[in-house]
Structures are given as structure tokens and as C-alpha cells.
């Protein structure tokens, strides 16, 4: 399969353009610092903040920090916000796009790690920053949430036949092909887990790299404790519906698809 990929994957552009997308919903307390940090530690990245219908000063704060700002007329949720970033990256011909959350939990100094991993291996379409890949990088989060993440990780790893340790991480670098895919279709809410499945079914390749993440710098997580049960059920539904929905497109020269190979 990797042989096929080598044929159809595009050559890396000589002067790649990079875009950092910062989804922000009422994160005025942190978004300005996030934008400044990205511009300081990864100057090759243009920064666009997606103000997802904030009722505070997130938008102006991001603009003051030097980012371009897309303002949603109303709140669409994290999936819709990130997808605006994909559409923006696609329309403006960016070669690579990274998502950096506006709450400050992603560390912009680690962007270089993602970029390095993307270029180190040919045919990669997404590089995902994982909190759990190295044991010495402890992430401060409640046990219940970590358990949920590990359940998703277990299921996804079985389904896509590749070890996934942090399927809910949004700290991801995408290439042009992944941008094109997700600009067209990105899950509505809690999109990260489903996005991994979509990549797999569309025959795009991903890799995880270990990153350090912070506890949230302020604001309220989109996943409150009351919603975590709903989150679990919704994502599990998405995984199983996704299994029934998407079949990889078989291209000439491929092995014949074997249904059992995708089962759990």
C-alpha cells in the first residue's frame, strides 16, 4: 500500500506556506497570548483565529495580536469552527495547516516538532500531537476523561490497524490533501475521533508525535463534566456509524478490500 502512496502523494512544495488556525469561543483571556506565542515561536505560520460567535472580546483581542479573524455570526461548535479554518486554508492555497486551541492548552513552541515529523516521512497527511505517547509527559486531567480517551484510543487502534494514543487531541498538522478532505466534510461536534476514522477511510496517513500540553489557561472547556457522558455516547455512535458509512475507495493496483480486515 505504501508503494501506491508514493505514486499518488504530491511532492513537498519548495516554499511551503503554513497556516495556524485558532478556534476560539469566549477565550478573550487567553487567545491574545496564544496568537503572540505562535507568531513568536513559529513565525512561518500565518495565524487565523476563528471567532465562533463569541460574546466577549475574543475577536478584537486576536486582531490586536496580529491575527486575521474569521467571525461566525453565531456559535457553530468546535467542528464548524475548525472547518472554517480548513476552508480558509483551502481557498488561500496553504500547503499546511495546524490547529492550535484558543484556550492555551497547546504549546506553540511544539509546532516545530509537528512540522519536523511531517517532513521527516514522505506520504504523511496528518501529524497529531499526543499527550500519552511518552510516559514522562504527564497530562493533568481527571481520571474519568483519561479513561474515556483510552477507550477511544483502543477502539480506533483496532479499527485502523495502527496505534493511536491520543485520538481526542486537536493539536494536529494537516497537509494539502487532508485540508481538501476536511474543508469538504468535517464532523460537527467532538470531531477529532471521527476525523481519524475519516482519514483512514479516505486512505490518508497519520502519525503521532509526543507533545507537552498545558492545563487550560482560562475559559470553560467545551466538554463540561455534565456533558462527558453525552460525549462518550456521541463519539461511540460516530465510530460505529462511521464504520458502516465509509468504505475506502479501491484504486487500481490495490489489494482487494477484505471486510474482516476492518473489523474489531
Amino acid at each position: 500500500m505504501s508503494g501506491v502512496y508514493a505514486q499518488i502523494s504530491l511532492p513537498a512544495p519548495a516554499h511551503p506556506s503554513y497556516l495556524a488556525v485558532v478556534p476560539a469561543y469566549n477565550e478573550a483571556a487567553t487567545v491574545e497570548r496564544v496568537v503572540r506565542d505562535i507568531r513568536a515561536s513559529a513565525p512561518e505560520f500565518d495565524v487565523v483565529v476563528v471567532d465562533d460567535g463569541s460574546t466577549d472580546t475574543s475577536g478584537p483581542a486576536a486582531e490586536a495580536a496580529g491575527a486575521r479573524v474569521l467571525r461566525h455570526p453565531f456559535n457553530l461548535g468546535i467542528g464548524g469552527a475548525v472547518q472554517s479554518g480548513f476552508v480558509f486554508a483551502f481557498d488561500n492555497d496553504y500547503d499546511y495547516m495546524v490547529q492550535v486551541d484558543g484556550d492555551g492548552q497547546h504549546d506553540p513552541t511544539q509546532l516545530a516538532e509537528l512540522v519536523r515529523a511531517m517532513h521527516a516521512e514522505a506520504g504523511l497527511d496528518m501529524v497529531c500531537g499526543s499527550r500519552f505517547l511518552r510516559k514522562d509527559m504527564k497530562y493533568p486531567s481527571p481520571l474519568s476523561r483519561r479513561t474515556g480517551i483510552h477507550i477511544f484510543a483502543f477502539l480506533l487502534s483496532r479499527i485502523i490497524g495502527q496505534r493511536v494514543t491520543d485520538p481526542t487531541s486537536g493539536f494536529r498538522l494537516y497537509n494539502r490533501r487532508a485540508i481538501a478532505l476536511f474543508a469538504r466534510d468535517y464532523p460537527h461536534d467532538y470531531p477529532e475521533v471521527e476525523a481519524v476514522l475519516m482519514l483512514h477511510f479516505n486512505r490518508l496517513r497519520m502519525r503521532e508525535v509526543p507533545v507537552r500540553m498545558f492545563a487550560r489557561g482560562g475559559g470553560v472547556s467545551s466538554i463540561s463534566s455534565g456533558k462527558s457522558a453525552y460525549y462518550m455516547i456521541k463519539v461511540l455512535l460516530a465510530i460505529f456509524v462511521g464504520l458502516a458509512r465509509a468504505r475506502p475507495v479501491v484504486e487500481p493496483g490495490d489489494d482487494a478490500p477484505v471486510a474482516a480486515a476492518h473489523g474489531i
Binding site: P60, G66, V69, R71, H72, P73, F88, N92, D93
Partner: protein
Amino acid sequence: MELRLQLVAVVLTVGLLFIVLELVRRRRLLERYALLWLFSAVVLMGLAAWRGLLESVAALMGIYYAPSALFVIAFGFILVLLLHFSIAVSKLADQSKVLAQRLALLEERERVASGRPRADEEIELEPARVTSVGRDEVQARDSASLEMTKPQLERTARR
């Protein structure tokens, strides 16, 4: 089936049919969504008015008390209608998401294209404008600021 019950059923279904038709006539209800309602109302009205039909349908379904069959069928129509509306709402939600995203991108492009300085650039431009004396100087500066946005414009126009 008791005559009184039949009368009530006929009046209700005729009323429903009339309301749906009236809503369509006043353009309060799109034909697309009225069709399923009309179909339900007509079928229920037929069953309510035509005694023999309802009784044979009830017998077919193994229901001894014929009016119960009317409720079962009405319930089935309601389920189908609700599902139909859930699908319609999902589609609308998806469409409004795409519209909101497109609007956000267009507005941003418009802000950039209209050359309105962003907050961080404004700080540099503002004092220069105030101290400038000659009109040529201002014009030169204006065209310079246009130059600044030109690469961005080309980028957006390229797609």
C-alpha cells in the same frame, strides 16, 4: 364502529385536511412539507368515513376493535412525519453551518480588501496621517498601504 365515534373521526380528519390546505394557500406551509400531511389526512379521512375498509384493515392487522386500528395508523403517520422533520432540520442545520462559514470568510476578505487597517497596523498609520501636510504625501502613503494588501488580494483572487 359506533356512529358518534365515526363522526368525531371524520370531523377531525376533515378539519386537519382543511387546515393543511389553508396553510398552503396562505403560503405558510411549503408544498414540499405539506404533501406528507395531506397524504396522512386523506388516508385517515378515508378510513374514518369508510367503515368497511377500516374493519377489514383492522382484521388484517389482528385488531379486534376497529377504531384502535385508526389510532395505530395515525401513530404510524406521526412517526413518519417526525422523522421527516428531523431529517429536514438536520439538513437546515448543515446548510446554515455552511452559510455561516462562507459569510465569515467573505466578511474577512471584504475587511482585507477594503483596506481598513487592522488593529495592530492602525497604531503605526495613525500618527503619520495626523502630521502629514501635503496632499501628495497622503496619496503616496495611501497607495503604499494599497501595495501592502495587494499580495493578500492576489492570494484570495487566485482560487
